[in-house]
Subunit: 203 residues, 2 copies
Protein backbone atom coordinates (compact mmCIF):
# COMPACT_ATOMS: atom_id res chain seq x y z
CA UNK A 1 0.00 0.00 0.00
CA UNK A 2 1.52 3.33 -0.98
CA UNK A 3 2.11 5.99 1.64
CA UNK A 4 -0.92 8.25 1.64
CA UNK A 5 -1.76 11.72 2.74
CA UNK A 6 -4.79 12.07 4.98
CA UNK A 7 -7.62 13.74 3.10
CA UNK A 8 -8.80 15.56 6.23
CA UNK A 9 -6.86 17.11 9.10
CA UNK A 10 -9.06 16.72 12.14
CA UNK A 11 -9.49 19.38 14.81
CA UNK A 12 -9.13 16.96 17.71
CA UNK A 13 -6.32 18.82 19.46
CA UNK A 14 -3.88 15.94 18.92
CA UNK A 15 -0.46 16.26 17.31
CA UNK A 16 0.18 14.20 14.21
CA UNK A 17 2.38 11.89 16.27
CA UNK A 18 -0.30 11.40 18.93
CA UNK A 19 -2.86 10.73 16.26
CA UNK A 20 -0.49 8.45 14.38
CA UNK A 21 0.06 6.20 17.37
CA UNK A 22 -3.55 6.09 18.46
CA UNK A 23 -4.84 2.66 19.31
CA UNK A 24 -6.89 1.28 16.44
CA UNK A 25 -9.99 -0.85 16.38
CA UNK A 26 -9.91 -2.88 13.19
CA UNK A 27 -12.78 -4.99 11.86
CA UNK A 28 -12.44 -7.62 9.12
CA UNK A 29 -15.88 -8.66 8.00
CA UNK A 30 -17.70 -9.88 4.86
CA UNK A 31 -18.70 -13.28 3.58
CA UNK A 32 -15.36 -14.30 2.12
CA UNK A 33 -12.11 -15.94 3.21
CA UNK A 34 -9.29 -13.70 4.34
CA UNK A 35 -10.79 -12.08 7.44
CA UNK A 36 -8.81 -14.08 9.99
CA UNK A 37 -5.94 -14.64 7.60
CA UNK A 38 -5.41 -10.90 7.19
CA UNK A 39 -5.76 -10.40 10.95
CA UNK A 40 -2.94 -12.87 11.56
CA UNK A 41 -0.94 -11.17 8.84
CA UNK A 42 -1.31 -7.91 10.79
CA UNK A 43 -0.23 -9.73 13.93
CA UNK A 44 3.03 -10.61 12.13
CA UNK A 45 3.77 -6.88 11.97
CA UNK A 46 2.95 -6.55 15.65
CA UNK A 47 5.29 -9.44 16.42
CA UNK A 48 8.07 -7.75 14.47
CA UNK A 49 7.52 -4.57 16.56
CA UNK A 50 8.17 -6.64 19.67
CA UNK A 51 4.60 -6.18 20.86
CA UNK A 52 2.91 -8.71 23.14
CA UNK A 53 0.14 -10.40 21.14
CA UNK A 54 -3.01 -11.93 22.57
CA UNK A 55 -5.15 -14.14 20.34
CA UNK A 56 -8.64 -15.14 21.46
CA UNK A 57 -10.40 -17.57 19.15
CA UNK A 58 -14.16 -17.68 19.58
CA UNK A 59 -14.59 -20.80 17.48
CA UNK A 60 -15.99 -24.12 18.47
CA UNK A 61 -13.77 -26.37 16.42
CA UNK A 62 -10.10 -26.68 17.25
CA UNK A 63 -9.40 -27.88 13.72
CA UNK A 64 -9.37 -24.49 12.01
CA UNK A 65 -6.44 -22.15 11.72
CA UNK A 66 -3.95 -24.62 13.14
CA UNK A 67 -1.46 -23.32 10.59
CA UNK A 68 -1.48 -19.82 11.97
CA UNK A 69 -1.46 -21.11 15.52
CA UNK A 70 1.58 -23.33 14.96
CA UNK A 71 3.48 -20.54 13.24
CA UNK A 72 2.66 -18.01 15.96
CA UNK A 73 3.51 -20.46 18.73
CA UNK A 74 6.88 -20.93 16.99
CA UNK A 75 7.34 -17.16 16.83
CA UNK A 76 6.38 -16.89 20.50
CA UNK A 77 8.94 -19.53 21.46
CA UNK A 78 11.54 -17.74 19.38
CA UNK A 79 10.77 -14.61 21.39
CA UNK A 80 11.19 -16.47 24.67
CA UNK A 81 14.48 -18.01 23.58
CA UNK A 82 16.11 -15.11 21.76
CA UNK A 83 14.13 -11.98 22.62
CA UNK A 84 13.35 -11.47 18.95
CA UNK A 85 9.85 -10.15 18.16
CA UNK A 86 7.00 -10.09 20.65
CA UNK A 87 5.39 -12.63 22.96
CA UNK A 88 2.40 -14.64 21.77
CA UNK A 89 -0.49 -15.84 23.95
CA UNK A 90 -3.02 -18.03 22.16
CA UNK A 91 -6.39 -18.76 23.75
CA UNK A 92 -9.09 -20.99 22.26
CA UNK A 93 -12.68 -21.26 23.33
CA UNK A 94 -13.03 -24.60 21.53
CA UNK A 95 -10.54 -26.31 23.83
CA UNK A 96 -11.58 -24.45 26.96
CA UNK A 97 -9.86 -21.12 27.60
CA UNK A 98 -6.23 -21.46 28.63
CA UNK A 99 -6.79 -19.66 31.94
CA UNK A 100 -9.53 -22.06 33.05
CA UNK A 101 -8.48 -25.23 34.84
CA UNK A 102 -11.05 -27.55 33.37
CA UNK A 103 -12.25 -28.81 29.99
CA UNK A 104 -14.30 -26.92 27.44
CA UNK A 105 -17.42 -25.20 28.77
CA UNK A 106 -20.58 -27.02 27.65
CA UNK A 107 -22.51 -23.77 27.54
CA UNK A 108 -21.09 -21.91 24.55
CA UNK A 109 -22.73 -18.62 25.51
CA UNK A 110 -21.12 -18.80 28.93
CA UNK A 111 -17.79 -19.78 27.37
CA UNK A 112 -17.94 -16.76 25.07
CA UNK A 113 -18.79 -14.48 27.99
CA UNK A 114 -15.85 -15.83 29.97
CA UNK A 115 -13.59 -15.09 26.99
CA UNK A 116 -14.85 -11.55 26.83
CA UNK A 117 -14.41 -11.07 30.59
CA UNK A 118 -10.76 -12.08 30.25
CA UNK A 119 -10.27 -9.67 27.34
CA UNK A 120 -11.71 -6.89 29.52
CA UNK A 121 -9.30 -7.80 32.31
CA UNK A 122 -6.39 -7.81 29.85
CA UNK A 123 -7.40 -4.49 28.30
CA UNK A 124 -7.65 -2.92 31.75
CA UNK A 125 -4.24 -4.32 32.68
CA UNK A 126 -2.77 -3.47 29.24
CA UNK A 127 -1.52 -7.05 28.98
CA UNK A 128 -1.07 -7.01 25.20
CA UNK A 129 -0.38 -4.42 22.54
CA UNK A 130 -2.18 -6.33 19.78
CA UNK A 131 -5.40 -8.31 20.30
CA UNK A 132 -6.85 -10.65 17.69
CA UNK A 133 -10.46 -11.42 18.63
CA UNK A 134 -11.07 -14.07 16.02
CA UNK A 135 -14.70 -14.76 15.04
CA UNK A 136 -15.79 -12.42 17.81
CA UNK A 137 -18.64 -10.96 15.75
CA UNK A 138 -20.66 -14.15 16.31
CA UNK A 139 -21.04 -14.05 20.11
CA UNK A 140 -22.10 -10.42 19.70
CA UNK A 141 -24.56 -11.27 16.95
CA UNK A 142 -26.06 -14.10 18.96
CA UNK A 143 -26.43 -11.90 22.03
CA UNK A 144 -24.00 -13.96 24.11
CA UNK A 145 -21.79 -10.92 24.65
CA UNK A 146 -23.36 -7.48 25.09
CA UNK A 147 -22.53 -5.23 22.15
CA UNK A 148 -22.88 -2.06 24.24
CA UNK A 149 -20.39 -3.42 26.76
CA UNK A 150 -17.94 -4.22 23.97
CA UNK A 151 -18.23 -0.74 22.44
CA UNK A 152 -17.90 0.90 25.84
CA UNK A 153 -14.85 -1.16 26.75
CA UNK A 154 -13.14 -0.54 23.42
CA UNK A 155 -13.85 3.19 23.51
CA UNK A 156 -12.47 3.58 27.01
CA UNK A 157 -9.53 1.18 26.89
CA UNK A 158 -6.29 2.66 28.18
CA UNK A 159 -2.97 3.05 26.36
CA UNK A 160 -2.10 1.97 22.84
CA UNK A 161 -3.75 -1.40 22.48
CA UNK A 162 -4.75 -2.34 18.94
CA UNK A 163 -7.78 -4.60 18.67
CA UNK A 164 -8.61 -6.61 15.54
CA UNK A 165 -12.04 -8.25 15.38
CA UNK A 166 -12.97 -10.75 12.68
CA UNK A 167 -16.16 -12.45 11.57
CA UNK A 168 -19.15 -12.05 9.30
CA UNK A 169 -22.04 -9.72 10.00
CA UNK A 170 -20.23 -7.12 12.07
CA UNK A 171 -22.85 -4.99 13.82
CA UNK A 172 -23.33 -1.51 12.30
CA UNK A 173 -22.52 0.00 15.71
CA UNK A 174 -19.20 -1.87 15.77
CA UNK A 175 -18.42 -0.68 12.24
CA UNK A 176 -19.27 2.86 13.32
CA UNK A 177 -16.97 2.62 16.35
CA UNK A 178 -14.06 1.06 14.44
CA UNK A 179 -11.20 2.99 12.87
CA UNK A 180 -10.58 0.62 10.02
CA UNK A 181 -13.07 -1.77 8.48
CA UNK A 182 -12.36 -4.12 5.59
CA UNK A 183 -14.99 -6.22 3.94
CA UNK A 184 -13.78 -9.38 2.24
CA UNK A 185 -16.00 -9.89 -0.78
CA UNK A 186 -16.31 -13.10 -2.70
CA UNK A 187 -15.46 -12.92 -6.35
CA UNK A 188 -14.84 -16.60 -6.90
CA UNK A 189 -14.38 -19.64 -4.67
CA UNK A 190 -13.19 -23.15 -5.60
CA UNK A 191 -16.22 -24.67 -3.82
CA UNK A 192 -18.35 -23.10 -6.56
CA UNK A 193 -16.51 -25.36 -8.95
CA UNK A 194 -17.03 -28.41 -6.75
CA UNK A 195 -13.73 -28.35 -4.90
CA UNK A 196 -13.54 -29.10 -1.18
CA UNK A 197 -11.17 -27.43 1.25
CA UNK A 198 -7.56 -28.57 1.36
CA UNK A 199 -4.77 -28.53 3.89
CA UNK A 200 -2.37 -25.62 3.73
CA UNK A 201 -5.10 -23.50 2.21
CA UNK A 202 -8.11 -23.78 4.48
CA UNK A 203 -6.23 -24.64 7.67
CA UNK B 1 -14.56 -20.60 8.12
CA UNK B 2 -16.96 -23.50 8.59
CA UNK B 3 -16.47 -26.69 6.63
CA UNK B 4 -18.58 -26.44 3.49
CA UNK B 5 -20.06 -28.78 0.98
CA UNK B 6 -19.37 -28.02 -2.65
CA UNK B 7 -22.53 -26.86 -4.38
CA UNK B 8 -21.54 -28.54 -7.63
CA UNK B 9 -19.82 -31.84 -8.30
CA UNK B 10 -17.85 -31.34 -11.50
CA UNK B 11 -17.56 -33.93 -14.24
CA UNK B 12 -13.82 -33.49 -14.69
CA UNK B 13 -12.92 -37.14 -14.20
CA UNK B 14 -10.94 -36.39 -11.02
CA UNK B 15 -11.47 -38.09 -7.69
CA UNK B 16 -12.39 -35.89 -4.74
CA UNK B 17 -8.87 -36.34 -3.38
CA UNK B 18 -7.26 -35.34 -6.68
CA UNK B 19 -9.51 -32.33 -6.91
CA UNK B 20 -8.94 -31.47 -3.27
CA UNK B 21 -5.19 -31.31 -3.68
CA UNK B 22 -5.23 -29.45 -6.97
CA UNK B 23 -2.86 -26.53 -7.16
CA UNK B 24 -4.73 -23.28 -6.64
CA UNK B 25 -4.28 -19.87 -8.18
CA UNK B 26 -5.46 -17.32 -5.64
CA UNK B 27 -5.95 -13.62 -6.31
CA UNK B 28 -6.36 -10.95 -3.61
CA UNK B 29 -7.46 -7.74 -5.23
CA UNK B 30 -9.57 -4.65 -4.46
CA UNK B 31 -8.77 -1.15 -3.26
CA UNK B 32 -8.39 -1.91 0.42
CA UNK B 33 -5.76 -3.11 2.86
CA UNK B 34 -5.53 -6.80 3.57
CA UNK B 35 -4.55 -8.16 0.17
CA UNK B 36 -0.90 -8.84 1.00
CA UNK B 37 -1.63 -9.32 4.67
CA UNK B 38 -4.05 -12.15 3.94
CA UNK B 39 -1.59 -13.65 1.46
CA UNK B 40 1.08 -13.81 4.15
CA UNK B 41 -1.49 -15.24 6.53
CA UNK B 42 -2.07 -18.03 4.02
CA UNK B 43 1.68 -18.51 3.77
CA UNK B 44 1.69 -19.20 7.54
CA UNK B 45 -0.48 -22.24 6.84
CA UNK B 46 1.89 -23.32 4.09
CA UNK B 47 4.82 -22.94 6.50
CA UNK B 48 3.05 -25.13 9.03
CA UNK B 49 2.57 -27.80 6.35
CA UNK B 50 6.34 -27.83 5.89
CA UNK B 51 6.03 -26.46 2.37
CA UNK B 52 8.85 -24.45 0.77
CA UNK B 53 7.64 -20.88 0.37
CA UNK B 54 8.84 -18.40 -2.24
CA UNK B 55 7.92 -14.74 -1.84
CA UNK B 56 8.48 -12.33 -4.73
CA UNK B 57 7.73 -8.70 -3.92
CA UNK B 58 7.15 -6.52 -6.96
CA UNK B 59 7.33 -3.27 -5.02
CA UNK B 60 9.72 -0.41 -5.42
CA UNK B 61 10.05 0.60 -1.80
CA UNK B 62 11.83 -1.66 0.64
CA UNK B 63 10.02 0.05 3.52
CA UNK B 64 6.71 -1.74 3.24
CA UNK B 65 5.87 -5.08 4.78
CA UNK B 66 9.07 -5.38 6.77
CA UNK B 67 7.00 -6.87 9.57
CA UNK B 68 5.93 -9.86 7.55
CA UNK B 69 9.40 -10.24 6.10
CA UNK B 70 11.10 -10.28 9.50
CA UNK B 71 8.61 -12.78 10.88
CA UNK B 72 8.94 -15.08 7.87
CA UNK B 73 12.72 -14.85 7.88
CA UNK B 74 12.57 -15.90 11.54
CA UNK B 75 10.29 -18.81 10.61
CA UNK B 76 12.65 -19.74 7.78
CA UNK B 77 15.63 -19.75 10.15
CA UNK B 78 13.66 -21.84 12.60
CA UNK B 79 13.08 -24.33 9.79
CA UNK B 80 16.79 -24.45 9.01
CA UNK B 81 17.75 -24.95 12.64
CA UNK B 82 15.04 -27.33 13.83
CA UNK B 83 13.31 -28.66 10.73
CA UNK B 84 10.02 -27.22 11.94
CA UNK B 85 7.74 -25.78 9.25
CA UNK B 86 8.84 -25.02 5.72
CA UNK B 87 11.71 -23.10 4.15
CA UNK B 88 11.25 -19.43 3.27
CA UNK B 89 12.87 -17.64 0.33
CA UNK B 90 12.18 -13.91 0.18
CA UNK B 91 12.97 -11.93 -2.96
CA UNK B 92 12.49 -8.18 -3.39
CA UNK B 93 12.54 -6.22 -6.59
CA UNK B 94 13.08 -2.97 -4.66
CA UNK B 95 16.49 -4.09 -3.40
CA UNK B 96 17.47 -5.91 -6.57
CA UNK B 97 16.39 -9.52 -6.82
CA UNK B 98 18.32 -11.85 -4.52
CA UNK B 99 19.60 -14.01 -7.40
CA UNK B 100 21.20 -11.03 -9.18
CA UNK B 101 24.73 -10.05 -8.23
CA UNK B 102 24.33 -6.30 -8.54
CA UNK B 103 22.24 -3.46 -7.14
CA UNK B 104 18.61 -2.69 -7.97
CA UNK B 105 17.79 -2.52 -11.66
CA UNK B 106 17.22 1.10 -12.78
CA UNK B 107 14.69 -0.02 -15.36
CA UNK B 108 11.66 -1.13 -13.36
CA UNK B 109 10.02 -2.83 -16.31
CA UNK B 110 13.13 -4.92 -16.89
CA UNK B 111 13.38 -5.66 -13.14
CA UNK B 112 9.79 -6.87 -13.13
CA UNK B 113 10.41 -9.04 -16.19
CA UNK B 114 13.48 -10.56 -14.54
CA UNK B 115 11.35 -11.38 -11.48
CA UNK B 116 8.79 -13.09 -13.64
CA UNK B 117 11.47 -15.04 -15.54
CA UNK B 118 12.76 -16.39 -12.22
CA UNK B 119 9.24 -17.36 -11.15
CA UNK B 120 8.85 -19.26 -14.43
CA UNK B 121 12.13 -21.07 -13.79
CA UNK B 122 11.02 -21.93 -10.25
CA UNK B 123 7.58 -23.12 -11.38
CA UNK B 124 9.21 -25.34 -14.02
CA UNK B 125 11.62 -26.74 -11.42
CA UNK B 126 8.88 -27.00 -8.75
CA UNK B 127 11.15 -25.08 -6.36
CA UNK B 128 8.36 -24.04 -3.99
CA UNK B 129 4.98 -25.34 -2.97
CA UNK B 130 3.57 -21.90 -2.13
CA UNK B 131 4.33 -18.73 -4.12
CA UNK B 132 3.39 -15.24 -2.96
CA UNK B 133 3.63 -12.86 -5.92
CA UNK B 134 3.08 -9.66 -3.99
CA UNK B 135 1.83 -6.63 -5.96
CA UNK B 136 2.23 -8.66 -9.13
CA UNK B 137 -0.93 -7.23 -10.71
CA UNK B 138 0.88 -3.93 -11.38
CA UNK B 139 3.61 -5.15 -13.75
CA UNK B 140 0.86 -6.96 -15.64
CA UNK B 141 -1.36 -3.89 -15.72
CA UNK B 142 1.51 -1.70 -16.90
CA UNK B 143 2.39 -4.15 -19.66
CA UNK B 144 5.83 -4.90 -18.21
CA UNK B 145 4.97 -8.58 -17.95
CA UNK B 146 2.84 -10.23 -20.59
CA UNK B 147 -0.52 -11.29 -19.20
CA UNK B 148 -0.92 -14.07 -21.76
CA UNK B 149 2.44 -15.52 -20.76
CA UNK B 150 1.43 -15.43 -17.07
CA UNK B 151 -1.89 -17.17 -17.75
CA UNK B 152 -0.21 -19.76 -19.94
CA UNK B 153 2.50 -20.46 -17.38
CA UNK B 154 0.04 -20.73 -14.49
CA UNK B 155 -2.31 -22.99 -16.46
CA UNK B 156 0.46 -25.36 -17.44
CA UNK B 157 2.56 -25.39 -14.29
CA UNK B 158 3.48 -28.87 -13.08
CA UNK B 159 2.73 -30.47 -9.72
CA UNK B 160 0.93 -28.96 -6.74
CA UNK B 161 2.27 -25.45 -6.58
CA UNK B 162 -0.13 -22.89 -5.07
CA UNK B 163 0.27 -19.36 -6.39
CA UNK B 164 -1.12 -16.30 -4.59
CA UNK B 165 -1.14 -13.01 -6.50
CA UNK B 166 -1.93 -9.69 -4.81
CA UNK B 167 -2.58 -6.14 -6.01
CA UNK B 168 -5.29 -3.82 -7.19
CA UNK B 169 -6.92 -4.00 -10.60
CA UNK B 170 -6.43 -7.70 -11.29
CA UNK B 171 -7.06 -8.25 -15.00
CA UNK B 172 -10.41 -9.90 -15.81
CA UNK B 173 -8.52 -12.67 -17.60
CA UNK B 174 -6.52 -13.38 -14.44
CA UNK B 175 -9.70 -13.43 -12.36
CA UNK B 176 -11.23 -15.83 -14.89
CA UNK B 177 -8.21 -18.13 -14.70
CA UNK B 178 -7.96 -18.07 -10.88
CA UNK B 179 -9.57 -20.61 -8.59
CA UNK B 180 -10.15 -18.27 -5.68
CA UNK B 181 -10.52 -14.51 -5.87
CA UNK B 182 -11.11 -12.22 -2.89
CA UNK B 183 -11.79 -8.54 -3.23
CA UNK B 184 -10.86 -6.41 -0.24
CA UNK B 185 -13.41 -3.61 -0.08
CA UNK B 186 -13.00 -0.45 1.88
CA UNK B 187 -15.66 0.24 4.44
CA UNK B 188 -13.70 2.69 6.54
CA UNK B 189 -10.07 3.75 6.78
CA UNK B 190 -8.35 5.89 9.44
CA UNK B 191 -6.89 8.14 6.74
CA UNK B 192 -10.44 9.29 6.05
CA UNK B 193 -10.40 10.69 9.57
CA UNK B 194 -7.04 12.38 9.07
CA UNK B 195 -4.83 9.66 10.51
CA UNK B 196 -1.54 8.74 8.91
CA UNK B 197 -0.09 5.24 8.77
CA UNK B 198 1.60 3.85 11.86
CA UNK B 199 4.22 1.24 12.56
CA UNK B 200 2.98 -2.22 13.47
CA UNK B 201 -0.16 -1.54 11.45
CA UNK B 202 0.95 -0.34 8.03
CA UNK B 203 4.36 -2.00 8.04
Amino acid sequence: MPQGQPSVVPSDGLTTRQRRNRALTIVHTGEMKGKSTAAFGLALRAWNQGWPIGVFQFVKSAKWKVGEEAAFRALGELHEQTGQGGSVSWHKMGEGWSWIQRGPEEDHAEAAREGWRQIKRDLAAETYRCYVLDEFTYPMKWGWVDLGDVLDTLTNRPGQQHVIITGRNAAPELVAAADLVVEMTKVKHPMDAGQKGQRGIEW
